[in-house]
Structures are given as C-alpha cells and as structure tokens.
C-alpha cells in the first residue's frame, strides 16, 4: 500500500484515516507476522521450559502437608487469638486428625514439615500419634490429657507453628532462603545470628560472580580488541583457539584444572622447579582455583560479543576523532569504547548470569567456603529432599537474573530489540 504524504496537508492517509493510526496498523501487522514466525519455538519453550519452571516455582510456596494431615485442627485454629492456649475443641480436633493420619500413615509428612520450623516437633507429633486415642481420666479434658502426655502441648509456640501452616501456601521457604522467619508478632525478622546462612551464601554468590566477570572483562576486552584489529585471516585462526575449550566438556576442563592446580600439580611443580616458590601454592580447593577455572570457562562469552561489535566499528571513527584533535587514548575512551559497550555489557551480563547459577566448578574445585547458591539447590534436591527450599532458592536466583536483565536492557537499550 502506498500513501503519499505531504508536509503541508494535515497528516492523514489518502483514505482519510489519520496517518498515525495507519502507521500503528502497519506496525501491528508487522509484529503479528513476526509473532507467527516465532510461534512454534515459543510453544516449544512454553511446554519444555516455562511450564516446568512455573510448576517448580510454585513449589517454593507450596505447603500441603499440615493442611491436609491436620485438616480439622487447622480449621479449628482459625479463630484462635494466638496468645493463650487453644480451646479444648482444638485438642479434640487434633486427636481426631492424628487418629486418621495414623491410619493413613501420613503423620511423618506433617511431622517433617513442622519439624522444619521447630525442632523436636517430629518426635512430639509421632509420639502423640502413637498414643492416640488418649483416654482422659475422669474430670480431665482432652487438653489436660495432651499436656499430661507431653507438656509441650501446653506451649503456645508449638500451636503457633501449626496455626502458621493453616494455609496451603507459605512464605516460609522463601523467607528461610533469606534468613528470615516469622516472629512471634507475625512480622518477618532475621533469624538469630548463629542460624543465618543464606544471606551470606547469596552475598558470596554475587561477590564471586562479580569478580569472575571483572576478570573476564579485564582479560577478554583487550584480547577482543587485538583480534578485531588483526587481518581477518589471522583473527579467524586465533578465534578458533579461543573457542577450542568450548568443544571440551566443562567437567573435563575442571578436572584438568584440578590436575594443573593441586599442590602436586603441574603449575606448582613448575614453580617449585624454577625456584620461584619454596612451598607449593594453594591454588586448588580454594577460591583462587574456582576463580581461575571459572574465568577460563567463561572468557569466550565476553570475547565473542565484544569481538563482533569491535569488528563492526571501522577504523575511520578513531581516525576521525584523532584528526579532529583528540589524543588517541582519549579518542579510544570517548569514541571507540562507547560503541563497544552494548556488546561488552551483553557479554559481561551473560558471564555474570551464568556465574550466579554456577555449580560444577565450585563443587569440584572449591572448599565449602566457595559453594554458591546452586550448590544448596542441589543439596536440598538430592540430599534432604526438601523441594520447598530448593525451589525457593531457585526462584530467588531466577529473580536475581531477571532483575539483572532488566537493568541491562535499561543500560544498553536491549528493549530496542523488539518484535518487528
């Protein structure tokens, strides 16, 4: 469709539709076409990627155990003020719930879940369930019988734990992942200092990722610049060397780093032999080793995008700046560098994002002090089978990644990369 528009007449297309509207329609058509083209891939991703992630994420707030096992108890606790001991009816409900759960063999589920929030709850619940039904002595209420069985049943805090789990979702896992808990007044508060773990793990993850990114940039940027200034034939050859490690599995590369870096390893052997050091350096199974291996593995992710933007910048930009009177170094920073930021930031962000989810290298080449968030995700998934914590940690990682991406697109305008 061809419209002729002149600047003097009001801006309408030939058929009288305002030009803006018409442009908008055309843009929407273009976007629709683009959308149709990406649809198959989008569907594939939805089914194999997004849906599983979404289900996993719901696990981080999923809390079915207590509600389903202690159904009547949680129901009866609804009107409870949370300060004094619950009414006798609640104890009756608990008695009935436990009796049923004992028959259905579901007591351990609830016991495990309650034990997460208050240690000792597992044994308390299982012990009580075994004794059910209680036979109250004359004049004794069910409550008295419970307390007689175990005085913890007369402790308000245990009842608060049950009441907190009276809904089928819980902020517990997410809060625990941030070293938070629900205080007595129901407000979130930091757990006592000696119980804190995850904040420092998140901090360590970000800190280590930051340094790996910095090192990748420091090593990758000059290399990419050098490659970009070389004649294409040479740079292609060298590029293959950069990419070579890509063709080996990460596991193999980490293993070879162990061989190289350990105290009897090749690096230390060479240093000792050359007399540069007297005692072997601690290079493996500490942070140095993790940094070395991660920088090595992630370096190509900085070099490739940096190289490709640098290659697209003709030398005439620098020459123009210099001919206008700028010193070559200043011209580099003012003219060349800004044009590379988008590509370099893309690479750096990629490295950072890959870092915060890194697992294998710290696991193999680090001490416990180098383990990052994903190690604990694996730990909760494989060792303690605590899906809630694994999912909560995973969700927080995902959130961090999304935030970083948002930041990135603000910085370099990746949102310009829109459909159509």
């Amino acid at each position: 469709m061809s419209e002729s528009f002149s600047m003097n007449t009001p801006l309408t297309a030939a058929d009288g539709v305002p030009l803006k509207t018409r442009l908008q329609q055309q843009r929407r058509m273009r976007q629709l076409k683009a959308l149709l083209l990406v649809l198959p891939l989008a569907l594939f991703l939805l089914l194999t990627f997004l849906v599983p992630i979404a289900t996993l994420l719901t696990r981080s707030v999923d809390n079915p155990e207590v509600v389903s096992v202690l159904r009547e108890t949680t129901q009866a606790l609804k009107p409870w003020d949370g300060k004094s001991l619950p009414a006798v009816a609640v104890y009756d409900a608990l008695s009935r719930d436990l009796q049923r759960a004992q028959a259905e063999k579901t007591v351990p589920d609830a016991a495990k879940r309650l034990n997460m929030e208050q240690s000792g709850f597992r044994s308390l619940l299982q012990k009580t369930a075994r004794k059910i039904p209680l036979a109250p002595e004359a004049g004794q209420s069910t409550r008295d019988a419970f307390i007689a069985l175990d005085e913890r049943w007369g402790d308000v805090s245990h009842w608060q734990v049950i009441a907190r789990n009276g809904s089928s979702w819980t902020p517990y896992y997410l809060m625990s992942s941030l070293d938070l808990r629900q205080g007595a007044d129901g407000k979130p508060e930091l757990v006592p200092e000696d119980e804190r773990a995850f904040l420092s793990i998140f901090g360590r993850t970000l800190w280590m990722s930051f340094w790996v990114t910095v090192w990748c940039l420091a090593l990758g940027y000059p290399l990419a610049y050098w490659l970009a200034t070389l004649p294409t034939r040479k740079s292609n050859l060298l590029m293959i060397l950069v990419l070579l490690p890509f063709w080996t599995s990460v596991l193999v590369r980490v293993a070879s780093w162990i061989v190289l870096l350990q105290s009897e390893g090749l690096v230390n052997g060479a240093l000792l032999w050359l007399g540069i050091v007297d005692a072997p350096l601690e290079l493996a199974f500490n942070r140095t080793g993790v940094y070395i291996a991660m920088v090595h593995i992630l370096l190509p992710f900085v070099i490739l995008p940096a190289y490709s933007v640098m290659k697209s910048i003709p030398p005439s930009y620098m020459r123009a700046a210099i001919s206008l009177g700028d010193h070559p170094f200043a011209a580099f920073w003012k003219i060349y560098f800004p044009q590379t930021i988008a590509g370099v930031a893309a690479g750096a962000l990629l490295v950072f994002i890959m870092c915060i989810g890194y697992y294998i290298t710290p696991a193999l080449l680090g001490s416990p002090q180098e383990q990052m968030v994903s190690y604990y995700v694996a730990f909760y998934t494989n060792v303690t089978i605590n899906w809630g914590m694994a999912a909560a940690l995973g969700s927080l990682l995902l959130l961090a990644t999304l935030l970083l991406y948002g930041l990135y697109s603000r910085l370099v305008g990746a949102n310009r990369l829109s459909l159509g």
Binding site: S316, Y317, I322, A331
Partner: protein, 364 residues
C-alpha cells in the same frame, strides 16, 4: 597569495611490505587555498598519500612540510587537518551538534562560542534544524554534510577528503560536488580531494594530480589535462580518447610525421621525446575529428569505414575503423548528421595537426 605553497611532499616514498613501493618518489606542492584532486585508478596510492598527510601512515622516506613545518614527526592529533571519510565516520552515540562540538571542546573553547560555531557550521551546510538528531536518523546526503561541517568547523587550514561522495547515488553526488565546490570557494580553505571518478575531479578541482602506480603522471588544471595530456595514460584516463598507433618517420620541430600500419602518414604534435623510428600512440579527442566536407581543410585526412551509429539525443557517436584500427570514435552534433549515412559507408575523416598528440607508445 594564491601561489604560496601550503603543503609540500619532497621525495616521499611509502612501502607497506618493504618490497614494493606504493608511493614512489613523490614531489608535490599544494598551494594555499587551492582545490587539488588526486585522481587515479584503484590501488594507485591516493589514499596512502592522504593518510601520510593526515599522519595515519608514516612515509618510508622523504619529507612532508605543512605550513612551513616538517610534518613527519608531528602526531596526527596535533596536525590540525580536517578530514572527511567515505563512510562519514560520524560518532553514532553523539548528536549532530555534539559531533560538531567535538573538535571545539578539544580546543577548550567557551560554551557560548562552541554553541555559536556549531550553529554556524550547521547553517553552512543548511542543516540548522537537525542539530539534535543522531547520525543514524539522517539520510546519506545529510550525514555527508554533517561530516563536511565537522571537518570545517574548527577552521583547519587544510581539509582532506577521501572519496567522500563514493557512497551517494549519482544525482546526489553531482549535487554535493557543487556544494563542496561552493563551500571551498566561500571559505578559501585548502582542500585535497581523492576520487577515482574523473568527472568529479574535472568538475570540482583547481588542479588535478593524476596518479598511476604511485607516481604522479601529470598535475594540471582540468582543461590542460583534457586538451594537453602529457602521456598516453592521462589521455586515456581523462575523457574519451582515440588512439592511433604508428611509427615516427620524420621530425620537424614541434611536429612529427607518423606512419600508420597501412602506410598513411599523419602529422602530429610531438609531445613525448620520440626519435625517428620509434613507436608512438597518438591521441585525438573524438570531438576534434571532422567528417567528409568539413575534413577538407585538415592537415590529416584518412579514409574510414562507419561501423556503428549510436544516437545519444544531443549528439551522435560514430564508431569507425581507421587505418585498419577499429574503435575510433567520432562525435557529431545532431544538426550535422547526414541522413544518408549507412553502416559500412566509407567516409573522409580529418583533424588538424595541433589536435593530435604523439605520445609514448601504449602496450598494444
């Protein structure tokens, strides 16, 4: 002081690989205020000369003086020479106004002075309203003008342009040629311009230096280059040319007699220092050739066969075979065309001795 020398190359040589000389013993004086074009086929070393002047390449040998100073050891950013690149090289992350302000800021000018000069610079290329745009939002011609303004805004004595119009389409290119020419006339700045488009060179320049293989073949005004080429390369490179090969048989002062292959004798101006018996290529411009009756008064008259008849609106081109050599072109204004001419006809062609130049022999 039109003839004062601003730039001089003295014995300048350049080699990239240490084996072959890209620029061979260049001696060149560029006069203050002139528009000098370096013209030559691809790879003849034009850009290399420009880059040595700008400081991005160093001469392997020889000296370049600029405004009385030896330039060889002055780094490019201290040379104060404006440059326009074929790809414009406008800084994409700066607006047009910021691009123009760039050299001014470096020269530590005050804010208001910079603003004034940027405004004037934009006015000079008639882009007053586009200062806030980014280069990516401009058309090719507009970007070209911004590049021009940026190279001129800090008032350099010398501006270098390396095929600045190469990326534009023909119409825009012709328009910009005139625009650059007028700017040059108005500002009086010295311009060294590189192109391999001879039309561009002839249109714009005060003088044209014709390059071939790193050697200046001839440096002269456009009309001298066209009317009095110094050698066969220039004769063929500039404008349309007819070449007749023959052997010098007699020398007579300014003139000489040349025998063509079929035995016919042609009287020609002796331009190359040729001796008797040497082979020469003679050059005749197509519009100097007269036909039939008009040829009667010419010193040189030959028989020619009409091979092809090409109608071009304002004139007609006849492709003829002369003395056994094909590809001889004659231009005839439409008014002088005889309707009876047929392909295959034999005709008289003739030209004055002063219009034919005996030059160095071209490789056959």
């Amino acid at each position: 002081m039109a003839d004062e020398v601003l730039v001089s190359f003295r014995g300048v040589q350049k080699s990239y690989d240490g084996e072959s000389l890209i620029v061979k013993n260049l001696d060149l004086d560029i006069r203050r205020g002139e528009f000098l074009t370096l013209l030559g086929p691809s790879g003849s070393g034009k850009t290399t000369c420009l880059m040595m002047l700008a400081g991005f390449e160093t001469p392997s040998h020889g000296e370049i003086h600029f405004d009385g100073k030896l330039l060889n050891h002055i780094p490019p950013h201290k040379r104060n020479i404006g440059m326009v690149f074929q790809n414009y090289a406008l800084f994409p992350h700066m607006t047009v106004a910021e691009n123009l302000a760039y050299p001014l800021t470096l020269r530590k000018m005050g804010k208001s002075e910079i603003a004034d000069r940027v405004k004037n610079g934009l006015a000079m290329v008639r882009l007053e309203s586009l200062g806030h745009r980014y280069p990516g939002q401009l058309s090719g011609g507009q970007q070209q003008r911004v590049a021009l303004a940026r190279a001129l805004v800090f008032e350099p004595k010398l501006v270098l342009m390396d095929e600045p119009l190469g990326a534009l389409d023909k119409q825009l290119r012709e328009h910009m040629q005139l625009e650059i020419k007028h700017l040059h006339e108005r500002l009086g700045v010295t311009v060294v311009y590189v192109t391999h488009d001879q039309g561009e060179a002839l249109t714009m320049s005060d003088r044209v230096a014709v390059f071939k293989d790193g050697i200046i073949q001839q440096i002269d005004t456009a009309s001298t280059l066209y009317e009095s080429p110094a050698n066969s390369f220039v004769a063929n490179f500039i404008g349309e040319n007819n070449t007749l090969r023959g052997e010098v048989v007699d020398l007579a002062g300014e003139l000489c007699d040349v025998r063509l292959h079929d035995g016919a004798l042609v009287k020609a101006r002796r331009v190359a220092m040729l001796g008797s018996g040497e082979v020469t290529s003679m050059s005749v411009r197509p519009e100097r050739v007269r036909l039939n009756a008009a040829a009667a008064g010419c010193e040189n008259r030959l028989q020619a066969r009409l091979m092809e008849f090409i109608y071009l609106g304002d004139h007609v081109r006849l492709r003829m075979e002369v003395a056994g050599q094909g590809g001889f072109i004659v231009k005839v204004p439409v008014g002088e065309v005889d309707a009876a001419w047929q392909v295959g006809d034999m005709m008289d062609v003739g030209w004055m001795a002063r219009d034919v130049r005996a030059l160095d022999a071209l490789a056959a």
